[in-house]
Symmetry: C2
Subunit: 284 residues, 2 copies
Amino acid sequence: MATIIDGKSLAKKLNENTRLTVSKMKKNGIIPCLAVIIVGNDQASKRYVRSKHKKAEKLGIKSIVKEMPEETTQAELLKVLNDYNNDSDINAILIQSPLPKHIDEKYIMGQINPKKDVDGFQIINSGKLFLDETENYPVACTPKGIMKMLEEYNIELVGKKAVVIGRSTIVGRPMAALLINAGAEVSIINHHANVNDYTKDADIIVSATGKLHTVNKNDVKKGSTIIDVGQNLDENGKLVGDVDYQEVSEIAGYITPVPGGVGPMTISTLMTQTVELTKWSDSL
Amino acid sequence: MATIIDGKSLAKKLNENTRLTVSKMKKNGIIPCLAVIIVGNDQASKRYVRSKHKKAEKLGIKSIVKEMPEETTQAELLKVLNDYNNDSDINAILIQSPLPKHIDEKYIMGQINPKKDVDGFQIINSGKLFLDETENYPVACTPKGIMKMLEEYNIELVGKKAVVIGRSTIVGRPMAALLINAGAEVSIINHHANVNDYTKDADIIVSATGKLHTVNKNDVKKGSTIIDVGQNLDENGKLVGDVDYQEVSEIAGYITPVPGGVGPMTISTLMTQTVELTKWSDSL
């Protein structure tokens, strides 16, 4: 039976570290501050933003939530963003996606100060990751959180065969880059691919397809590490991942559950990255 | 027997296209201009710069070669670069590597105006490639030239298994990104890896290791496409690639020779990219 990679517990531990770090920073007069901008009335987005806000406050991070109405113009949004970009008290900025259709989301996202890009989605930060730059820069929180899990469970990466299924700009691509930079041999494939061709000999599999049954027991090697980024609803409306958890966990060496695996690590990484951006900021 | 991917002929054809394009642009009063800065006395670098200069002139591209002495300070170099960055008559800038040791090469390269970054090595341009941005931006010339070869010979990429051996920032990584963006399933591996594990089922193999015998006949599938970026000297001092050409060409479907394959395509792509940067520039 595979060891369960307990993202929930690890996230708690990281959050506790973050809380302690923040409390030390406060003694030196530094308060990490995360600003989240949300435009419109998307209920799921509002829920996400609220949970980020609560988590930040719990850890001592100052959290600003700027709610703007659906009819906000691009110019109005840009004005707020620019104020935040230039406000030295704000260390991290997140604009909740999706934005209303009349706003050019790609353009707006590109206007976040790259040093405050807590999501790590910007071109310049992605470029640094892709080129394996050694300086400090933010990285997309989901893959960064996964790297912490692999580290925590002492999963070796150098020279290992890793497969990333899914090639999105926010999970698959940065995940592949992090694994390449860590010295793994990395295959990045579409969910259309014959997944089995790649996964059957793989030491590490990261599935980020959002498709049920992307990985089943015939796709995995004994003792391999399975990271499941998927958040899908099964036929009974139950939250499950991309991986057939029950059967795969009988073969794998390590596996992340859904829920309680990758999910909690993403928000915990958002918090650690807020603190990192604060430490890296010019003002210190 | 494999079809030889004749880089030399294709480069000639592309150069002829470039020459015609430039001559049309000139009729509209536009002269693409490439500026190359070389610092110091490295003889190989001087040779490269001379051949770029000759090629550019032959195609009607205005070529500026700025030779600066070994003892040039970083500030002096930066001054010249900034003049070129701001000179609207200069469309493409290349700083010949290596720079003398007292100059921070990474820093200097980062100061090239990204819209004139004809080598496509800059963080922002690499980030756009990695994120598969749709706007126009320059891409590293060797992998871009390889894509043109694959296109010319109608090598299918969508859903195909591609392996890139070598993970350098100037060949392996951008090559992998271009193949991912083209819809291939891409493995990017170290030359330390068990190459055969990846290549034996691959439809496309790009070797960029600079190591003799990286790919031999047992490593390739019948009918596959073999791209050899290596430029190595064998035991007799003869220029050869990473691939055991003779034996592999008996199995592969398509293969690039060394010399006469990837090499000529790189310089021809440098020229087409100079013209593209001119077309994309704000002034047009």
